[in-house]
């Protein structure tokens, strides 16, 4: 709900920006953007040690030359980074200007504590934001996920995507099957290949290890018309015939056409079964494309096709919805920083098209639309993968458990038992009811304690 309003607000903000340009025509538009405004300042940054941060770090020298701002850059392993950022903020330190943050993990806490700076006024101000930055270039779903009640506390550095369907092109050709578009197509293809190869090749492999499966099963649940929870009230809502159909689909696919013992398969087992050529399809996270296409780790390299998450009877209804809860990862400006304008120069510079493009060339999912259409990226990556990724990043995934529950791992374990029951061919309806009842009780407990 809030996401929808927010999107409009942002559009309105864009309109306001245009109006501001009209009222002051000459100054803002004619004069080139002033990068030197804060020359001589020093900024301190704490970020995560990971590929994108390395790309950014290599660009710091250019930034210093462009702006005259000195940057004190510290890249740390994840746990250490989190701890340090928390400790510095709890101590009220004002010399930390920019840090990397995961909204999904820590955002609510940080926002309530005033540790973020809202970047919307900065983005709106043409004196402070260079014309090439273009917030509109970010993928719409990424923008939605980054927006919290009209504020943008983190400038996202990567896109979140739905899981995708990987399939074996050679087997699909052999059995004259088309690229699956719906979950029915997937079932049919799994059956044809499983039976056609005399059960030597599994039709499909999916996660079955209880809680581990729920993040992958979430979109399928929504495709069949189910819901984890009511969007606005947060009440548990997966005790419905639609949810039973979705869980039953997942379980029966594995029972009939999947590997035996699926109830113990996490992503590690699932991906190794597929990369050893034992299965015709796998539906899992998009990041495994690099694994499957690496001849050193995969016997199916060069034979893998990519398809965006297939659809079910009710896909239209939810796939265009704004995110249920905000979720973004990227650089944030500390709420306590005394050099917010200079910090914003750095953040906008590091979140530009160049960073996003270089990240994609390394196999990451860029947050900007321009990176996805960049000629160099198009040349380097499989076009089918690019197209699949583009489609998948436009959709806001429904998550692995009801968004209203704080104890996510407990809720996932409850729901995971229903996944296992379905794979084993037990009563799915009863298992889902038990899971829903337990989740409702957990929610009630949490609400009472709050």
């Amino acid at each position: 709900m809030s996401g929808r309003v927010t999107r409009r607000e942002l559009l309105a903000a864009g309109g306001g920006l245009a109006l501001a340009g009209l009222s002051r025509p000459s100054l803002a538009q004619a004069a080139p953007f002033d990068w030197k405004k804060h020359a001589g300042t020093t900024l301190r940054v704490i970020t995560l040690k990971f590929p994108l941060a390395e790309i950014q770090q290599k660009r710091i020298a250019d930034f210093q030359q462009l702006t005259g701002i000195k940057v004190d850059w510290e890249a740390l392993p994840e746990d250490l980074m989190r701890q340090k950022i928390k400790v510095e903020h709890l101590g009220g330190a004002t010399d930390l200007d920019v840090y990397m943050s995961y909204y999904g993990q820590e955002g609510q806490q940080f926002l309530a504590s005033g540790w973020y700076t809202d970047t919307v006024p900065l983005i709106k101000n043409p004196q402070l934001t260079n014309p090439d930055f273009q917030w509109d270039d970010f993928i719409p779903a990424v923008r939605d996920g980054a927006t919290v009640n009209g504020q943008v506390p983190i400038i996202p550095d990567r896109a979140q995507a739905l899981p995708i369907l990987y399939f074996r092109r050679d087997l699909f050709d052999q059995f004259k099957l088309a690229k699956p578009k719906t979950w029915d197509d997937v079932r049919n293809a799994a059956k044809v290949i499983h039976e056609g190869t005399n059960k030597q090749v599994f039709g499909i492999v999916l996660r079955g290890k209880g809680a581990a499966a729920t993040s992958m099963l979430g979109p399928v649940l929504y495709d069949f018309g189910g819901r984890w929870a009511d969007r606005s009230s947060g009440d548990i809502a997966f005790n419905t015939p639609e949810a039973v159909a979705a869980f039953d689909w997942w379980g029966s696919m594995l029972r009939l056409y999947g590997p035996p013992g699926s109830v113990n398969n996490h992503w590690a087992e699932v991906t190794s079964i597929f990369s050893q050529g034992r299965a015709a399809m796998v539906y899992d996270d998009i990041t495994f494309a690099t694994l499957f296409s690496d001849p050193a780790k995969s016997t199916v390299a060069g034979k893998v096709g990519y398809a965006a998450a297939p659809t079910g009877p009710k896909s239209e209804a939810w796939r265009s919805e704004p995110p249920i809860a905000p979720n973004s990862t990227g650089l944030a400006i500390s709420g306590f920083s005394k050099k917010k304008e200079a910090a914003w120069l750095l953040v906008q510079y590091l979140s530009d098209r160049t960073s996003s493009q270089r990240y994609m060339l390394q196999g990451g999912l860029g947050a900007r639309q321009s990176a996805w259409t960049d000629p160099e990226v198009a040349k380097a990556l499989d076009p089918e993968f690019l197209e699949t990724g583009r489609l998948s990043t436009q959709i806001n995934a429904p998550g692995a458990a009801p968004h209203s529950i704080a104890n996510v791992s407990k809720a996932r374990d409850f729901i995971g038992e229903a996944v296992v029951a379905s794979i084993l061919g037990q009563d799915v309806k009863a298992a889902l009811k038990t899971a829903a009842d337990r989740c409702s009780e957990l929610l009630k407990e949490e609400r009472a304690k709050k």
């Binding site: 013992g261 113990n264 704080a406 374990d413 296992v420 084993l424």
Partner: protein, 292 residues
Amino acid sequence: MTRWLEAIDRHVPVVFPLPAILLVGSLALYPIAYTLVISTRNYDLGLSNYSVAGLANYAKVLSSSQFWSAFLRTFLFTGLSVVVSTTLGMVMAVILNRDFRGARWARTAFLLPMVATPVATSLVWMMMFNPTLGVLNYLLQLVGLPPSLWVADPQLVIASIVLVDVWHSSPFAMIVLLAGLRSLPREPIESAMIDGATRLQIFRLITLPMLKPVLVVVLIFRTIDALKAFDIIWVITAGGPGTSSETLYVYAYNQAFKYLDLGYGSAVIVIFAAIVAGVTAAWVKAREREWT
């Protein structure tokens, strides 16, 4: 200075063990006491609240069906593991007690599973159990048997993990029982042989009764060991499929460290500790009866 030394002299029984007492106190007693305290608190890190709960956590534990399922599973696992590993250990001990060529080698070989790191061997077992990629099903098919789901089958998972635990712990039973056999007097056995008793009769009527005190020791150690089994279960199934192999330790671990409900998790652990203490006391009682 001399007065100090005199004081130490006078209180030697207190002063000398003091470092050990402090060490044990801080490393063992303090955590136990702290667990007891936490078990009477609302202490849920996920909700960051902390308040006195009295015995509410205990009431919640005892009324939880998941707790009782885990309780039954723990005893099923323990019963199977103790009986099978002790029987197997006894068989191996009897065989190795006879001096044949290569007996020393065999003794060393049988001991290997005991010295292996449980987590590492459990990872290997997990791979061997895999119904698709594992070696166990391959072996079954070699001898013409149908493949099994092993730990992926809720009906078989406890038995499969017992198999791993037996593989691990039978050598312990064997080595203790072998030492017991070696220390038995030869005379009663020799006279029984002269009287024409069969080997089975000798074992059942003479060896076994004489070995009983040692056997009870093995049973006590094996029971404690099996009750607190955690590493192999956690590595191989983490309590799955679903909750089919969730023993009390796994249950407590999930509550405290996965769901971050430390109050409830501590209450489970305290109840569990009481159970282990009770079972051990029962065994010790049984042993005393043997000796009197």
